[in-house]
Symmetry: C2
Subunit: 444 residues, 2 copies
Amino acid sequence: MPLITPRTLKGFRDHLPESMLQREQLIDKVKCIYQSYGFSPIDTPALEYEEILLGKGSDETDKQVYSFEDHGGRRVGLRFDLTVPLARFSAQHIGELGTPLKRYQIATVWRGENTQKGRYREFVQCDFDTIGTKSVVADIETALVIHDLLIALGCEAFKIHINNRKILTGLLSSLGIEDKTVPILRCLDKLSKVSREKVADEMLKIDGIGKEAVTSLLAFTEIKGTSEEVLKAARDLVTDNTTFLSGISELSELIHGLAVAGVSDSKVHLDLSIARGLDYYTGNIFETFLDALPEIGSVCSGGRYDHLAETYTKTELPGVGASLGLDRLLAAMQEIGVLDNRSLGAEIFIVYFDPERRDDYLQMARSLRSAGLRVEMYVEPKKIGQQLKYANRRGHRFALIAGSEELDQDLCQIKDLGTGDADPISLKGGYENLVVALKQKLAD
Amino acid sequence: MPLITPRTLKGFRDHLPESMLQREQLIDKVKCIYQSYGFSPIDTPALEYEEILLGKGSDETDKQVYSFEDHGGRRVGLRFDLTVPLARFSAQHIGELGTPLKRYQIATVWRGENTQKGRYREFVQCDFDTIGTKSVVADIETALVIHDLLIALGCEAFKIHINNRKILTGLLSSLGIEDKTVPILRCLDKLSKVSREKVADEMLKIDGIGKEAVTSLLAFTEIKGTSEEVLKAARDLVTDNTTFLSGISELSELIHGLAVAGVSDSKVHLDLSIARGLDYYTGNIFETFLDALPEIGSVCSGGRYDHLAETYTKTELPGVGASLGLDRLLAAMQEIGVLDNRSLGAEIFIVYFDPERRDDYLQMARSLRSAGLRVEMYVEPKKIGQQLKYANRRGHRFALIAGSEELDQDLCQIKDLGTGDADPISLKGGYENLVVALKQKLAD
């Protein structure tokens, strides 16, 4: 039989041990922060009925869904985000789980979109949401979680951009173009990616939108200053629209709450230009940019939505949450250089020196592991130089070396793979001395 | 628009917070054991080219693959195990990674098989393998990892059944029916599930297999006794087949190594009846049964294979490993009652008592979290009884209760949600007292 070329699909990739360890480490930190606010994990199937998935995001996301007919003739699809499954999940289980439902989900999603640098067709999202409450406390917590996440991950220099959908829709309504909200928000959402002129041109293409409206809208998104200044300028602009005013008030409460909870002003940026393209947001919205890499876009985005599960249930399920883009953030952290380089292997490496003494090495490994150490015994009695080369590549910290002669004298060498220094240690009476010595060296 | 019924596909399911926490906890323990032997994580895409997936397991698994045409007209499929992706991965990356490659992968797989009680179409496998060595040390380690996994997960009563493929193929060759190895092994693999008679009938249906051969084969699989007794009886039975004899010798080395490494005899069972249905095994093979629930089948299975990646590369890639069936094990642990019941929420619950004092609660939550505590503040100022009911359901350990009057006097109540006892604590000078008191109470 001819060989099959081993390859992954375009837009998909393997994670090798080094990158996978970094991912696992990051995910552990993310879980830790979510749990510190009382969020609990859930999971949903990768495959859902196609009717559950389609028509929830936009035509664009619909086209990207990997969908097909399963063995039973059902139309099914791979989830393209974690929000639609959350909506279905909430409609199905909220009676049992009660509200507020504070859940997180860290899971893979699939989108058959055009691949670009740093964009994959399979990626991991880390979502957290609070379902079943309209309280602004949940909005404040959402921003606090984003804040704590980035600090915990070692990205100290970032800004959470906030805005409120009601301000935008209120403004549109005061301009008499509220029926164009969806296409206009889609245009505005591109402001951070394409030029002002291009956005203006696109908006003008929307039926019923004139030059004046476009000028007002763009001028509005360009209001700059401290949160207080921006709020004041906005308040002066539209005074008679209740939607607009309640947006202003929700934003004020959010900003106040963040300040009270100790978030530095410098980390929060009231940005009237952010819109979040997805249609379902209805209140405060969030995007997060790294100071060092604003061009990669928001690494953690979200907002408040009042009608999460309306296609599945008549129960009103308002909520608020955000999604951390793990892959984008990892790429960014790599670029900024804030990724820890973890050892790939165990701490301790046992050289398989003398084939006749295999039993000794097996027993040594066992005793050290029982004492809580991570230990790799080399699998074959190859040349010691070759074994140590392997150990260095894998990042073991200490190698244990003992041949027949040494073992006969109840001796073993502890070699520091960083410095190259070797210390003899007595194995008389068992491995206790060795455990103590290794723990001490690891702690130093 | 009519409502869409919120439902999952047949054979798929949601994981609610309680079950998901247990899964996460189990996975953390599994990773810990893998890492304690120097295994590192990798990941591969859920979707692969169909040609990579098909023809690797059996016709049965081929039929179960979820396959379809993607947006680019490629035939693709969802992985049905982690071994085939590992073979592809190894062929692709072994040059960069070197050998031995000790990797683990904990990931979801999909099979469109008929659903039965406790069988799902989407489930998680936890695989670990050592690639690129024929050393029996890697076989010994594989069994040690299985042993340590089950102990760490709290399943103390189990047996690792071991056998060697060479013994079976050697026996068949000595009976002159080595060309029927694959169908015979498939029959023998069913011995733990259906009656001896049914297996005999099935074997007789194989072209060229006579009654005598069936009797010999079944008699062989029924040799019972201690490992030494079984080895002796087997050795007496076939004396002149080199394949058979090298199988016996590999098994002896494995058994010796396990004893040396401190594994109790009672945990290892030389069982000539296990065959592992999959064709690719070539040496020692493993299955693991819980004493309390043998009927659920093996919870951790694997073995040695000498030609893992032969369809993708001419490089010889021998290896050994095993796969822990997370979902099956979880179901078993639930039944035996060895699952920890973890709290669903954070440790500390802050009652949102007085809407006027929201800022105080936000600051309190922030200070406690900074001190490393997990804290949930209720999102709405509902009646205190309702809030405490929620806290009890979520398993918080302590509630902090403070109204305006108390806060004016710098006071707060710590209510133990288990006993109902409440202690006042002073907040004078900040939250330090509170942190100390809570940490003390949590440690008690």
